[in-house]
């Protein structure tokens, strides 16, 4: 029963979404299924939040290594929850001024907005900015000319890298004959991106599309149940 009911729900929801894609009359069914999912996801947030708090409380109570960070996490969790739920600093909606909580929860100037703008956004940007360094280290490793393929990759990457900058134009200015202008890095970059790169990406995309359909069919037909905890 524990497996059968979720399996039936998955199969029914899958077929509803499939039919909704082809039959205009059933369009709203797909939207309804999506709404059900959203409601479930919101309910599950409580589950996730509860799990987060529980694990960190356990870490604090047992004074495991790094328990101080858990205290910060719990404090931030409840602080944000408090300011967000109570809408501290949010003005009532002008259309319904009598209802104190009717304002937009992320209204400019509210406490939650401040937390988001001045804490979440900078921290997120910081993590995102780190990508630049990771790209450099990954590129260094990937572009080492260990074999023919890696050498080809290195040359291609060099051409595209230079072609994306003014150096791609500047290097060939004044001396390359008109008939060989296609050799300029900026022109080669356009060719590499439009032809081999697009072809490769499309090949992968077609494979992915077929894989998605095959996996969906396995799930819809109940052949693959491993996601339910059963091989």
């Amino acid at each position: 029963m524990k497996r059968t009911v979720p399996l039936i729900i998955a199969i029914v929801a899958g077929f509803v979404l499939l039919i909704a894609n082809f039959i205009p009359f059933a369009e709203s069914w797909g939207l309804t299924a999506q709404e059900w999912f959203n409601i479930l996801a919101v309910g599950a947030m409580v589950l996730g939040g509860g799990n987060l708090v529980k694990l960190h409380l356990m870490k604090v109570s047992s004074k495991r290594k790094g328990w101080g960070y858990s205290v910060v996490t719990i404090a931030c969790f409840f602080g944000t929850l408090f300011f967000g739920l109570l809408k501290i600093g949010v003005h009532p909606n002008p259309l319904t001024p009598d209802y104190a909580w009717s304002g937009y929860y992320l209204e400019n100037g509210s406490t939650l907005w401040w937390i988001y703008e001045h804490m979440v956004v900078p921290l997120t940007s910081m993590m995102f900015a780190m990508l630049a360094f990771y790209v450099a280290t990954a590129a260094f490793r990937a572009f080492r000319a260990k074999n023919t393929e890696a050498t080809l990759l290195l040359v291609t990457a060099g051409v595209v890298l230079l072609g994306r900058t003014y150096a791609g134009v500047w290097l060939f200015e004044g001396w390359l004959p008109e008939s060989m202008q296609w050799l300029r890095f900026d022109n080669l970059t356009v060719w590499i991106m439009d032809i081999p790169n697009t072809a490769g990406t499309r090949a992968i995309t077609i494979g992915i599309a077929l894989g998605v359909v095959a996996t969906s069919l396995r799930i819809l037909l109940g052949v693959d149940r491993s996601y339910l905890g059963q091989d």
Partner: protein, 436 residues
């Protein structure tokens, strides 16, 4: 007396000129046409018109300096009325002209999504200039009654392909069920999973599994969970510890079920620790911070990433590389694949990732579906080759209306596009710069 008459006449002329000047209005739009939106559930109407002659976006006005700035069209005003009085639910205001939209200058179409199925409507459009002056109305020559189509014919070819593909899959599942041995090539990345878990066991370090950052309604997350099932089973058999941080609450719940069942199947239900499968946060980069923090602190010996990833893929994979973990990744995000390839030991590219669950299960039925997938691929390649052939012949012959061009356009617009079964004929579609 004569002088007074001249003054009066001059005054009257000035007045009439002023009146004429203020009464100047923009040119109306033309060629208004209304039609029921095809392949829909009868809840929308397509309205199209041609630009006003005083619309700055009209090609006639290439030299905008020659235009009277006061007459330049600012918006088009669209009004609608219900003409079928038998529509019992129609209110009095519906039976009169009523404004429904004001698209900007340069727009030549509007989709009215506020109509009722089965009611009959009439539409009219006028142009409004910067001064707020409206042109005369142009009324549609025909009425329109939105109707519902039983089947979305624009997706007819998609349905045909799905039936064909489903047929292949069903056929090979049946073949497998009847006992026929089906061969599937080895996937190095999946073979490496056992090796990675074994290494973690030997080193006495945990195995980290990340099922992407998408929710459970995404197929990539489901594919990731099927791999998790195998990883957890192997970990249970070897006695390795597995850590599964999740980015979504529902994924956490599903992952717990998966891992618990895997431990049970491996005969080690007591080793299952639900707290090892835990929720971190929905926020993308906060999740990455949490996972990479864990990686740096605990130094897992194996990191397995299977699911839908975005920009965080490289941060995770590079951190794993930095701590010296053996890494296996699988995703169907084409833009993230290069990052995983550069940083991980093994990467399941696109379709391999989706084949993983069938491959790992050793279940003949699932292997049969893989075989069906291969035949679907063969069909796709066949259409590609035919398309390339016709596109090449049409290009070489230079005949834009010949059979080759027609076949090319039919494949492009009907089979791969959204024009449905349609009719086959010559075409002159410009392929230049088209990314469809």
């Amino acid at each position: 007396m004569r002088k007074q008459i001249h003054h009066i006449l001059a005054f009257v002329m000035a007045l009439s000129m002023a009146a004429f000047a203020t009464a100047q209005s923009p040119a109306p739009p033309s060629a208004l046409s209304v039609s029921d939106t095809p392949n829909d559930s009868g809840k929308s109407v397509d309205v199209t018109w041609s630009l006003s002659e005083t619309d700055i976006f009209n090609p006639l006005n290439a030299d905008a300096t020659q235009m009277n700035p006061e007459l330049i069209v600012s918006v088009y005003r669209i009004e609608r009325m219900v003409t079928d009085s038998s529509s019992a639910e129609a209110k009095q205001e519906d039976l009169q002209w009523r404004q429904i939209a004001e698209p900007s200058a340069g727009e030549t179409s509007f989709v009215d999504r506020t109509v009722q199925l089965g009611w009959t409507y009439n539409y009219r459009v006028c142009a409004v200039d910067n001064q707020g002056e409206a042109s005369s109305w142009i009324v549609s020559e025909s009425l329109v009654k939105p109707t519902m189509q039983i089947f979305d014919m624009s997706k007819a070819w998609l349905a045909i392909f799905m039936i064909l593909f489903g047929g292949f899959v069903a056929y090979f599942i049946n073949e497998a069920r009847s006992g026929k041995k089906l061969w599937v090539r080895k996937i190095a990345g999946l073979e490496a999973i056992d090796e990675a878990v074994g290494r973690a066991t030997e080193m006495g370090r945990p195995v980290l599994f990340v099922a992407g950052i998408q929710d459970i309604n995404e197929i990539q997350t489901l594919a990731g969970l099927t791999v998790l099932s195998r990883v957890a089973k192997t970990a249970a058999e070897y006695g390795a510890q597995i850590e599964v941080p999740t980015c979504r609450s529902l994924v956490m719940a599903a992952a717990r079920e998966t891992v618990e069942a895997a431990y049970l199947a491996a005969g080690a239900p007591d080793s299952y620790q639900p707290d090892k499968i835990h929720y971190l946060t929905d926020e993308q980069f906060a999740f990455v911070a949490g996972v990479t923090g864990y990686m740096v602190r605990e130094e897992p010996a194996a990191c397995i990433y299977m699911g839908g990833f975005y920009a965080e893929s490289l941060i995770l994979a590079e951190t794993g590389n930095h701590i010296g973990a053996i890494q296996v990744a699988g995703t169907a995000m084409p833009s993230q694949l290069p990052f995983f390839v550069a940083s991980c030991d093994y990467t399941l590219i696109g379709e391999e990732f989706f084949a993983a669950s069938a491959y790992l299960s050793d279940d003949p039925l699932q292997i049969g579906s893989l075989k069906g997938q291969d035949y679907g691929k063969f069909l796709s390649v066949l259409i590609l080759i035919i398309g390339i052939f016709f596109a090449t012949t049409a290009s070489l012959s230079g005949d834009g209306d010949g059979f080759g061009a027609g076949a090319r356009d039919y494949i492009k617009n009907n089979m791969l596009g959204s024009e449905g079964l349609g009719s086959f004929g010559g075409g002159n579609t410009d392929l230049e710069g088209d990314d469809s």
